[in-house]
Symmetry: C2
């Protein structure tokens, strides 16, 4: 095997222009792994790497290099290599990369591309960020319905060099209207003389280019499709979204929900620069401040009550904390079910009623334990009783708001996870403190002095 194919060794080979040794080292590696070992290369080194190997051999690795490094590396390529590399890229990757470039360089690069390709890049860049159009590739395999299977297989063989996948092949008429779908499995099994139009399956489930990518993911995984076609308003093929994109999309959508539940900006990454993370988090903390001023104000209204029975100051925390926890439980169950399409609009009331009931019963059971502890701690049964009652009340609030907030956000066509935990926690904090301290006022003669 020779020396280990480490970052340092790769750097030496690139610097020394040792094309043969580089190719040998890459031969035993998957491109994704090669790109991973090359993390840490300067963009100029990546550019040298591309020049050295030539665009066609370098591309499989280059595709796995992070976008911000790709972007910088392009600037150091000679004109011919730049055009060749960009031309070889798959249309969706190309559009994503061009979109990242600085305006000047973007214009220069676009002017170097063929008119067709320039138009293709421009069209792909035009789709909104979270739409099907932004994720699709325009390199798909297609057939006409009148071909026989024998010649269809020949055509697919020719298209295999460029198409993103040849396992689903789309059957279209002359104006690219989608008529049906044949899988390569269907084709190799079919009799050689059958007509493609006779063996294709139809209707084909498809999405529009402006469809929300989260819906596309739901649809595709629902049907276990390997790829899904993207159509324009007239039902003509624009592109396809394939399973490997779907891996990323499902992962990204889940990350987005988790981040939103934790009041985090989705732009934050584990390796974001320090001050960028700070900048992204402070607004969320301040919006949380705005809402936690409400419970703080509620408590300040009961200042006199607390002064008379200071045990309340610590016990009220338990009521609020468990309420927050229960609210977050209901919220998470409902947000996830909405994201996965498990809640239909007509089920809203049932979902709501159940979460409220879960809150009530959990409150009755957990409240009994907690009330008993409060009683034993301060030796006052009245304290135990109001802790219990307040917990039941607050867990009902938790179930109600935990289900209601995401359902309302969804109705308003907003992300059900976004900022929802702030609303729910505010509700359970206000609910917990006011019910508990309110009850304390009622039974004050039995508490005072504790």
């Amino acid at each position: 095997m020779g020396p280990e194919f480490t970052l340092e060794y790769i750097q030496t080979l690139i610097a020394g222009g040792e094309r043969g040794a580089l190719e040998a080292g890459l031969a035993g590696l998957h491109s994704a792994d090669a790109a991973e070992r090359m993390l840490g290369l300067e963009p100029t080194e990546v550019a040298h790497f591309v020049q050295l190997l030539g665009p066609d051999k370098a591309l499989p690795v280059f595709e796995f290099v992070p976008l911000d490094v790709q972007k910088e590396a392009l600037k150091h390529l000679d004109r011919q290599t730049l055009v060749q590399l960009t031309t070889l890229m798959s249309p969706d990757d190309r559009a994503d990369l061009v979109e990242e470039l600085d305006e000047d360089f973007k214009d220069r690069l676009l002017s170097l591309l063929s008119a067709n390709m320039r138009q293709n890049v421009r069209r792909l860049m035009d789709y909104p960020e979270d739409s099907a159009g932004a994720y699709m590739t325009t390199d798909y395999a297609l057939l006409h319905p009148d071909s026989d299977v024998q010649s269809a297989l020949e055509e697919v063989r020719l298209q295999a060099a460029t198409a993103e996948t040849v396992y689903y092949i789309y059957v279209v008429d002359r104006s690219l209207h989608l008529l049906g779908l044949v899988s390569l499995r269907d084709l190799i099994v079919a009799r050689r003389r059958s007509r493609v139009g006779d063996i294709m399956s139809k209707p084909v489930i498809s999405v529009r280019a402006d469809e929300d990518i989260e819906e596309v993911a739901k649809l595709t995984t629902h049907y276990d499709f390997l790829a899904v076609p993207v159509l324009d308003d007239q039902g003509r093929m624009l592109g396809i979204i394939t399973f490997d994109d779907l891996y990323d999309i499902i992962t990204e959508e889940a990350t987005e929900d988790m981040y939103h539940l934790a009041n985090l900006d989705t732009d934050e990454k584990i390796d974001s620069p320090l001050m960028r993370s700070v900048k992204l988090r402070v607004p969320w903390l301040l919006s949380n401040l705005a809402t936690c001023l409400v419970p703080a104000y509620v408590v300040s209204l009961f200042a006199h009550t607390i002064q008379e029975a200071v045990a309340l100051a610590s016990l009220m925390l338990i009521v609020a904390s468990l309420g927050g926890n229960a609210g977050n439980q209901s919220l998470t169950v409902v947000v996830r079910a909405l994201a996965l399409g498990e809640i239909k609009l007509r089920h809203n009331q049932r979902v709501l009623a159940k979460q409220v009931a879960v809150g009530m019963f959990s409150g009755l059971i957990a409240g009994m334990v907690i009330g008993t502890i409060a009683y034993l701690w301060y030796g006052n049964p009245w304290l135990g009783l109001i802790v219990w009652l307040a917990l039941v009340g607050n867990l009902i609030i938790a179930g109600l708001f935990g289900a209601l907030v995401p359902i309302i956000l969804r109705r308003l066509k907003l992300d059900p996870a976004l900022g929802s935990s702030i609303f729910v926690t505010t509700a359970t904090d206000v609910g917990g403190y006011s019910i508990f301290l309110g009850l304390a006022v009622l039974v004050m003669p039995h508490l005072a002095g504790r």
Copy 2:
């Protein structure tokens, strides 16, 4: 189209034994959609449906019926249909279903199957729940290296009827040791006389049957594979895991992390029966109680301080609440990065240092705003100052514990998300109350009476 293909209509057709109309209605529908419309059918009706259509035509729809309905429906099938249907199922689905059956019925069914199939089911059921073995199917396409492409294509055509996918074909020796991989794309493009052994790619990236399914998902999506082979300790093929399983696995793993962050049991579903949800949630609420008794106790130690300056009772809530929020931010970023494999062990210290620094700077900035509000609210600059300082301190604690807890859980080979938010919130609650009230004690002469 005739009448709409609704649940009621399907029920009528099944009751009337109208096979023709049922088939006609199903013809225009994807099986996943047909199964969705049939949600609400009694298991006996599902069984009638299978009897009526015959196992081969009913299976595509039956596969999409929820597992608990499948399980009940089986009991109402006649013996021949039962055996045929089970035999036709894909091995992984079959094993999943048999695993769900009651012991008696399971034994009866297994005794009806062929010896080979019985062994196959037993082997698949033996793999631990979250292992690669539990998710794989044993119906994969395979070739020998000495075949030429022409005859390989013939063989694949024959295997297409049963193999889960024919797009990745595994090249094995006579004892099933995995030698290489050819894609169907490679095969149709290759010259007819080439040897499979010469065009196959190798080494093939594979997983062991006992590998954690989360790691399998990470690997497969990293390489954008359509399927991944599962091997035994000797490197022999046991099965494959395909892209459609991966859609589910990625989704399930994300749900698991979200649920664990919200202290929810992963067995809870949006439509779990009420008392089951209560049963699953109460233990979590009580474990949260155990930890929120600590901050409540800390506050009780400062009872005298609070009595002297009751403004503290409301302001301490803000310090704790923002600390909890910031802790949850760090926790979520780190848990997600761990789940996606973005943090290597050697990066732990850097991750920790960054989260602490983010906490400190966020505390300095947000604390200034909050301190000013506290000052204006109660007209006391000392109150503002200690709110500010306490917030800086508590947000450092938030960053520290938000990063430390999941990293330690991972080191202990536990799920980094499981129960972690309880630890982090306890840390920020205790930290928030004790720093804030402790500072209050120090400056008490300037606060008393407020």
